[in-house]
Amino acid sequence: MAQIFHHSTNTFSRITIYGAIFVLAFLTWCFATLDRSGYETREGQVRDQPVPFSHAHHVADDGIDCRYCHTSVETSNTANIPPTKICMNCHSEIWNRAPMLEPVRASFRDGTSILWTRVHDLPDYVYFNHSIHVNKGVGCETCHGRVDRMPLMYQQNSLQMQWCLNCHRNPEKYVRPRAEVFTMGYQPPEDQETMGRRLVAEYKIQDARALTSCSTCHR
């Protein structure tokens, strides 16, 4: 019986078999890269919101403190998305006819919440607590970036566990004096680590073993 396949097909099948290893490795690399990419983590992506609220305007131009709106950032796990009432404190007086703010007025009128799209969305099995970070000298900016330069809000960092651990393993590299926590554009001193170690001791920040215990964040 004559051969069905030509002799040259052997080469073709060899390439396929050996190549499969590279193909698999490539796919794995693609998967890993995708998983860490901004596409997956939504790092740097502006999300659509019912009202195009500008942090840049309110923080940088108006000089409003973070805590005016995010009232529970020092006392609770959540920083609090401000109730409509807080918007209306000012906007019943200024820009009270701006069409852009109609959803805010509608909310206040009808008693229905403004449905914001979540920008910083940790998985449900992560129990992040704002108050302890703020109280231990972690600046807003350290995680959220230069909010005062964000006309529309986006997520500055990946918020992946690897990123959290950078600080949980070496808090001295990131802590700042409590007085500077809410400062935007804070310039750390040259010897951040020296000051960091002093602050870690002063603020009684737990050691890396405690900070990297699983139940610190997961339960």
């Binding site: 998305i81 607590n129 009684k204 139940s215």
Partner: protein
């Protein structure tokens, strides 16, 4: 006695198990060891008994028990049993895809945030608020603090300021929050099954009421459960004043029928009895389960446990004698317990009273097995005049109550350990007579409008009344209830009722203390309270519960500034000075007329008792309670005909056989459960099962014991006939699941006399390898090292901790089939152990949470590091990392890890989502879970402390099980702090670790069970 087909503990026949047991097929030739009662008995007598045992199957060393003991989960837990079908194939393929990790290849779904419009004052998002209210049940109530997360009540804790709680809560209270979110609650007002509006009902009722107004209410009847609410009582009185010919009837199947009748017999008036166990050195319980059931039991348990807490040189213990038919948590704490038939308890009471010289008109009881106690017992009681206490069971006959009153009077206990007050009930009527009266009027066609507020009378009224058919004789029937139940089905109008967490109301505790109940949430389904419905009837349709309750108390309030008084009363959960004052009461001369000797008992005795989990049936649709393993029996999802080993042997039946029970012409089928320590010649049946319209959870499970409960004998009677009718009923008791080897000193115990002589008696018995005997480096704990100590002398096995843990930690309900397969999810279990003869064993209870071992076997075997040692000594469990190899549970000697074999958590029902604790992950399928010492509470307290720049104070963190424990048996804290309560307990000489010889170094340790038997009584 030959049993051809001996079912085993799990309720499955050996054949069925073999069918699933592919591994065991090769040793099929090996002869199997089965349960053989006479042999067990002989074995026990010959060898003076094993030190302790877990069940009859354990004693007999049946193959089935051995198999359960040697495995982490029962053999069939990890078997796929659903057969092959296309659906299952697709499901499996889906699961495989998930296992391949590909489900992670998606972006997180977009989530939205809905902030407040106007944020309520005092509310900080993310921080729960606690509100005081009370849960009424029967003739009492438990004061509670309800945890509210942004307006959702999620967890119930006891109110430390409330006299009936003192900070503890029982299983019903703990589970009541699930009742609020029950998706089967009635969601609409209906007329003959069709949805109507409240306006339509108002029109109809006012028409009917106007007719009654003309007749001065001659055709108006009100039917309620026992009423303790002062406001509701005032409303009813007002209604009766408006309609002088109307009548009010009360019926509650588990009311204090006997106690009230007993007080009438002894004093000629319906007095309420309260007790002070903190002043009682010797206690005799005449079938009274005062530690775990009935109004005030939480307080009594706290006081009782405090009087037998042995610490260091404090070795004084009170002494408890119990006679009872069915082992109860109180019986398990007895220093002397004698199983007596329920009717014999009365005979014993007569004998004891006459020996004590109390007024009995010269009558003595017929002799019982407990008579051998009488000499020493009388001496013990007389040595403790004014410091002893005799307590009659709620379900014992009026004569037993009267005898207890007479004995307490003759021992000078009244005013010291026993107090009398006016009744807590607004109208302590004879409820049976009241119901008969109603039936007479129904038969005469005199009832035009029957207003039924709460209760489920078609289901639970005495069977001879045929209430279902008689009810129809009322022209217009209105039923207000939480669920569209059996009674609603036979009423034209069904009105949805508010849950107690949804309404303003008030209620009284066992001692009369009033709590003004406040709502935690607006009614979920537009329900109305009994107050509002009554207001509609009395022509004030627009009044809300808030206005009604507040107006009542404004009228009661004397003095200025009612508003401040009201705010404080609502805030505290206790209205000051409302406990009823103690009253002097003197025995009626000649109360004990020498009545004829009881007739010779015919047949077996039948004993009706409320179920320890579903009570009188009202909680039948509560999954937590259905799955809650009943104290001692560890039965779940069923009631059973419970009998002693000897009675079962005589009748030729074994556990999970089906029998036909016949009593006074009523017949029904029931599964058998053999309970060591049950009285011979009696069969205990629990009420509350066999519901036909309970909801998805509770309908058609168990058998309805109300079907043979007549008003002639509400609690017990002779004349029960038993006939075997089948076998292999699937009766699930988890007693033998997660079994530890009882040869290995799981329970350490001693008599107090022994302990006084040699405080090291426990330590001598128990070995723990020296520290450092491990290849792994030790851990260092600089600041906190969390630990727990559980006092087995205090634990009575009531199981409140099990339900509290379930509520706190979002633990799933799995259902009867899955429990049978050993897949139940409770993180905390309460094991029962027995010691001594199988007819009257001593009973020990042991709560077993995760031991948080120092050298944890689970941590070493996890291939993905999903379980790790934390810096404070917890064995952390990371759900999101777990891939479900189950190596950890395989390696856990305590069998405390639980695996989600399927998707057990309900991820879809909207109302159940509201109940979840937002601080704990809801676990999905394929994930291992276990107790973490309520790490969410630890973290919350630590964060609060760090922000305030201090350390966590002792007692600041209470685990859910600890917080609810009535006897303070469970103590949690920082063992690095030598002054903490837990460290002090661990330094006691009674402290021991479970299976400590394995060198696991458990963080949870136990204090040995101590008893104080009377040396004059031979065991």
């Amino acid at each position: 006695m030959n049993e051809p087909n001996q079912p085993q503990a799990a309720g499955k026949s050996r054949e069925e198990i073999e069918h699933h047991d592919h591994h065991g097929a090769d040793d099929a030739a090996h002869t199997e060891r089965k349960l053989d009662l006479p042999a067990v008995r002989a074995l026990l007598e010959k060898s003076h008994g094993r030190e302790y045992w877990r069940s009859l199957e354990d004693l007999a060393e049946t193959d089935a028990f051995q198999d359960l003991m040697h495995r982490e989960f029962p053999r069939y837990a990890s078997e796929w049993e659903d057969g092959d079908s296309r659906r299952n194939f697709i499901k499996l393929m889906g699961a495989s895809l998930a296992l391949a990790g590909l489900t992670a290849c998606t972006r997180q779904p977009t989530e939205h945030i809905a902030p407040y419009i106007r944020q309520p004052e005092e509310l900080v998002p993310g921080r729960p608020l606690f509100f005081a209210t009370a849960m009424p049940l029967g003739s009492g109530s438990t004061g509670v603090l309800v945890e509210s997360h942004e307006g959702r009540p999620t967890k119930i804790e006891g109110n430390p300021d409330h006299p009936a709680s003192l900070g503890a809560a029982d299983v019903y209270t703990q589970a009541s929050v699930l009742g609020l979110y029950d998706p089967d609650r009635s969601q609409a007002l209906t007329l003959d099954g069709e949805i109507r509006s409240w306006g339509a009902f108002l029109g109809a009722i006012q028409q009917a009421i106007n007719l009654q107004r003309a007749k001065r209410g001659a055709g108006l009847r009100l039917l309620t459960e026992t009423v303790t609410s002062p406001t509701l009582a005032a409303q009813i009185k007002q209604m009766l004043a408006d309609f002088p010919l109307a009548k009010w009837h009360q019926w509650e199947p588990v009311a204090r029928h006997s106690a009230t009748a007993g007080a009438r017999l002894a004093f000629g008036q319906p007095l309420n009895t309260t007790y002070d166990f903190s002043a009682a050195g010797v206690i005799v319980s005449l079938d009274a389960d005062f530690l775990s059931s009935g109004p005030g039991s939480l307080r009594y348990a706290r006081q009782f446990a405090a009087k037998r807490r042995v610490r260091g040189n404090q070795t004084e213990m009170n002494r408890l004698y119990v006679v009872e038919p069915m082992p109860t948590p109180t019986g398990s704490k007895a220093d002397h317990r004698m199983p007596l038939r329920a009717a014999d308890v009365e005979q014993f009471a007569w004998s004891l009273a006459s020996a004590l010289g109390a007024e009995t008109a010269g009558r003595r009881g017929t002799p019982t097995a407990a008579d051998k106690w009488i000499g020493p017992l009388v001496r013990d009681l007389q040595n403790h005049k004014g410091a002893s206490l005799i307590i009659a069971g709620e379900y014992q006959s009026p004569a037993v109550h009267a005898l207890a009153h007479a004995m307490n009077a003759s021992l000078g206990n009244v005013g010291k350990t026993v107090f009398y007050t006016d009744p807590v009930e607004a109208e302590p009527a004879d409820q049976v007579a009241s119901l008969y009266d109603l039936v007479k009027d129904l038969d005469a066609g005199a009832v035009d409008l029957l207003l039924v507020l709460g209760g489920n009378f078609v289901y639970d009224a005495p069977v001879e009344l045929g209430f279902r058919d008689r009810l129809k004789k009322a022209q217009l029937r209105v039923h207000l209830s939480l669920q569209e139940d059996e009674t609603s089905h036979y009423c034209q109008w069904h009105l949805p009722m508010t849950h107690y967490l949804e309404t303003w109301s008030d209620c009284r505790a066992h001692d009369g203390t009033v709590t003004i109940m406040q709502p935690l949430i607006a009614p979920l389904y537009a329900g109305k309270s009994a107050h509002e419905v009554l207001a509609m009837v009395t022509n004030k349709p627009e009044q809300s519960s808030y206005e009604i309750v507040k107006a009542y108390w404004a009228a009661q309030h004397k003095g200025a500034d009612f508003e401040a008084w009201w705010r404080k009363a609502v805030h505290d959960g206790v209205v000051p000075d409302t406990a009823l004052p103690a009253k002097a009461a003197s025995l009626r001369a000649g109360w004990a007329s020498p009545s004829p000797q009881p007739a010779q008992p015919q047949g077996l005795e039948v004993i009706f008792r409320p179920d320890p989990a579903v009570y009188d049936g009202r909680f039948a649709n509560n999954g937590w309670l259905q799955e809650f393993p009943r104290p001692i029996t560890q039965l779940t999802w069923d009631n059973a005909a419970i009998m002693s080993p000897r009675t079962a042997q005589e009748k030729g039946v074994v556990t999970s056989d089906l029998i036909e029970i016949a009593y006074r012409g009523y017949k029904m089928r029931a599964p058998v459960f053999i309970q060591p320590g049950h009285a011979d010649g009696s069969v205990t049946v629990h009420l509350g099962y066999g519901r036909t319209r309970a909801g998805h959870v509770g309908t058609r499970i168990g058998f309805n014991a109300y079907g043979m409960r007549t008003s002639h004998a509400l609690w017990q009677d002779y004349g029960l006939e038993v006939r075997k009718a089948g076998s292999d009923y699937l009766l699930v008791s988890i007693q033998d699941y997660h079994a530890l080897d009882t040869e290995r000193h799981t329970i350490e115990k001693a008599d107090i006399a022994e302990y006084r002589k040699n405080p090291d008696v426990i330590q001598e018995d128990y070995e723990q390898p020296a520290p450092g005997l491990t290849l792994y480096p030790g851990f260092k704990y600089d600041k906190y090292a969390w630990g727990m100590a559980i006092d087995l002398t205090a634990c009575m096995g009531c199981g409140a901790c099990v339900v509290a843990c379930q509520a706190e930690n979002n633990i799933a309900v799995v259902g009867k089939e899955e429990v049978h397969h050993g897949r139940h999810m409770h993180w905390l279990r309460v094991d029962s152990y027995f010691h001594g003869a199988i007819d009257a064993p001593e009973i020990y209870n042991q709560p077993v949470p995760c031991m948080q071992c120092e050298n944890a076997p689970c941590e070493l075997v996890c291939p993905v590091q999903a379980t790790n040692h934390s810096s404070e000594g917890l064995n952390d469990m990371v759900y999101n990392r777990c891939v479900g190899t189950r190596y950890c549970s395989n390696n856990c000697p305590y069998k405390v890890r639980r695996f989600n074999f399927f998707l057990f958590s309900d991820w879809t029902t909207p109302s159940l989502k509201l109940q979840r604790n937002p601080d704990v992950s809801v676990r999905s399928r394929g994930v291992m879970e276990k107790c973490t010492y309520c790490v969410q509470r630890i973290n919350r307290a630590k964060i609060d402390a760090e922000e305030a720049n201090r350390v966590v104070r002792d007692g600041e963190i209470q685990t859910a099980c600890q917080a609810t424990c009535p006897t303070e048996a469970i103590i949690f804290g920082n063992i690095n702090d030598p002054n903490s309560r837990v460290a002090k307990m661990k330094s006691e000489k009674t402290n021991y670790g479970l299976l400590a010889d394995l060198n696991t170094r458990p963080r949870t340790t136990y204090l040995a069970a101590l008893r104080n038997p009377n040396p004059e009584i031979e065991v």
